[in-house]
Amino acid sequence: MSHHVRVNPISCEAHGMCAELLPERITLDEWGYPLVDETPLQGSQVEHAIRAARACPTFALLVERERARARS
């Protein structure tokens, strides 16, 4: 079962905690919003990602199990 991180762009308020806690996956754009590598997380990264998700003040960072990505 592979996991990946995703951002809810509506909830995200650019606090930037995720980039501090998961720099291997997340960098910030010029406005402070996360640029996320959404490819499957490797081994211990899952744990780090979950920690980053818990630290997000608006709960905008999601650690998801692989599912069909759908956009409206």
Partner: protein, 458 residues
């Protein structure tokens, strides 16, 4: 393969000949003023087939048969995304809970008039399709959403709903299905599926984070089929005449006819029904030809793409033909820009409007579209920074696929396409500043009043 008419039509007179496959289909018998009455509608189109009233098991089979027929017809959604209608219907039919059908008449595209035209003049065609779709996906409830700026469209459909209530045949056709009518705000993103569902649930008409998609969990958490007005009108004709009939027009990958809204310097701008794959030239000819030399044509609206005037002759109106131009038909907007207009000033104006139409929910859309609009304005004013092309590419990368809805992506597409199509003009402005055309009256239509925050927040 059995044609639909013999699969589930008990009411249609058997002897009725298949209508001519040619055009017009949707627009057949369109009245010059006001709405087509129920009587006129039934004289032109025959009654729609009954899906309900044959016992639970048979009703279900008939519903499934209609979805199969729509799948064979190859009908693609006409709201802009060209998603296969049968796939959506099947997903809703298969989801748990009583389904709801939402008729999407939000039509936020400033240059599009086709949906309000259908609602205003041919409301029974839309209602037939909506009821058939509701029955097919196992629903009892239809919610017709009309853009608040479509005054006559609202009147037309409201009258038609009333008219059907007092007609015994219609009551029998609709069975227990209930049709509600509601207005939706006119801003650009209000027609996004999740925004409509959000609005109908009592929230603001703004997109939400998906999944869940509306087909899984939509209005009142029920599986919800959100379908464009024109799409449902086609459903009602496919149910009557079958998939083979539908496919007699159009291309194999995009069958059938389509409504397009043609505007700009042509003799008679307006809504036309074309066969997919028809040449742009034939459409312009049908509209009385051009009244000024076109500098370019915008296909697909403000999420669409430009095609330069010199390539106009070779353009055919289907997605496969438009793909090499980087365009798609979208919701059927075809907009000519005259030679006198300045494409740089026009793009700057539309880019600023698109930035303002952001729902202001997602950071990259809010900041990115604003920065893009500013950059284009700077080019138009001849005060662009050094390496402006790289800056635009960078902003495009920062905006694309980073919103909850497709608005930022559509805006970026339009801006990049304008830069590509009107390279010379942009380079000229960057170097020398405004041209003579910059001060002309703008040609590209935008809503007169900016969307008030009140409309968004309701």
């Amino acid at each position: 393969m059995t044609p639909a008419s013999s699969t589930f039509s008990d009411t249609a007179p058997l002897a009725a000949a298949q209508p001519a496959a040619a055009l017009p289909r949707l627009l057949a018998g369109i009245p010059p003023h006001g709405a087509m009455t129920l009587e006129e509608h039934l004289a032109i189109h025959d009654p729609p087939p009954l899906l309900r009233g044959h016992g639970k098991k048979h009703d279900r089979q008939r519903g499934a048969a209609l979805i199969d027929e729509i799948e064979r017809s190859g009908l693609l959604g006409r709201g802009g995304a060209a998603f296969p209608t049968a796939t959506k219907m099947r997903a809703v039919a298969g989801a748990r809970g009583r389904a709801i059908v939402v008729v999407n008449g939000a039509e936020g595209e400033p240059a599009s008039l086709k949906d309000r035209t259908l609602l205003e003049t041919l409301p029974h065609l839309v209602l037939d399709g909506a009821i058939l779709a509701a029955h097919a996906v196992g629903g009892e409830e239809v919610i017709v959403c009309v853009c608040e700026s479509a005054g006559a469209g609202f009147e037309g459909i409201a009258q038609a709903i009333e008219e059907r209530r007092s007609d015994p045949a219609c009551v029998a056709f609709e069975r227990s299905a209930k049709v509600h009518l509601t207005r939706v705000p006119g801003h650009y993103v209000a027609g996004q599926e999740s925004a409509l569902v959000n609005h109908l649930g009592g929230g603001p008409a703004l997109p939400t984070f998906t999944p869940p998609m509306p087909f899984e969990q939509g209005v009142r958490r029920r599986p919800t089929l959100v379908s464009n007005v024109e799409t449902l009108a086609h459903v009602s004709l496919i149910a009557r005449h079958g998939a083979p009939w539908f496919r007699q027009l159009g291309t194999p990958s995009q069958p059938g006819s389509a409504l397009v809204t043609l505007s700009g310097p042509v003799g008679h701008p307006g809504v036309y029904e074309i066969e997919h794959g028809a040449s742009l030239v034939s459409l312009i000819d049908a509209a009385g030809g051009t009244t000024a030399r076109p500098r370019g044509v915008l296909v697909g609206g403000y999420a669409g793409a430009w095609i330069g005037g010199e390539r106009l002759r070779g353009v055919a109106l289907s997605n496969e033909h438009l793909a090499p131009h980087g365009a798609s038909l979208g919701a059927g907007v075809v907009l000519l820009l005259s030679e006198q207009a300045c494409p740089v000033a026009e793009t700057a104006r539309v880019a600023r409007w698109l930035a303002g139409q952001s729902a202001h929910q997602c950071g990259p859309c809010v900041h990115g579209l604003d920065a893009l609009a500013t950059t284009i304005e700077e080019i138009a004013g001849g005060i662009a920074q050094a390496r402006v092309e790289q800056r635009i590419e960078q902003l495009a990368r920062l905006v694309r696929r980073r919103g909850a809805c497709n608005h930022p992506d559509g805006a970026v597409n339009l801006i990049l396409s304008a830069l590509d199509t009107f390279q010379t003009e942009f380079a000229d402005h960057a170097r020398h500043g405004p041209c003579d055309g910059c001060t002309r009256r703008p040609e590209l239509p935008l809503p007169l009043a900016p969307v008030s925050s009140e409309a968004v927040e309701r």
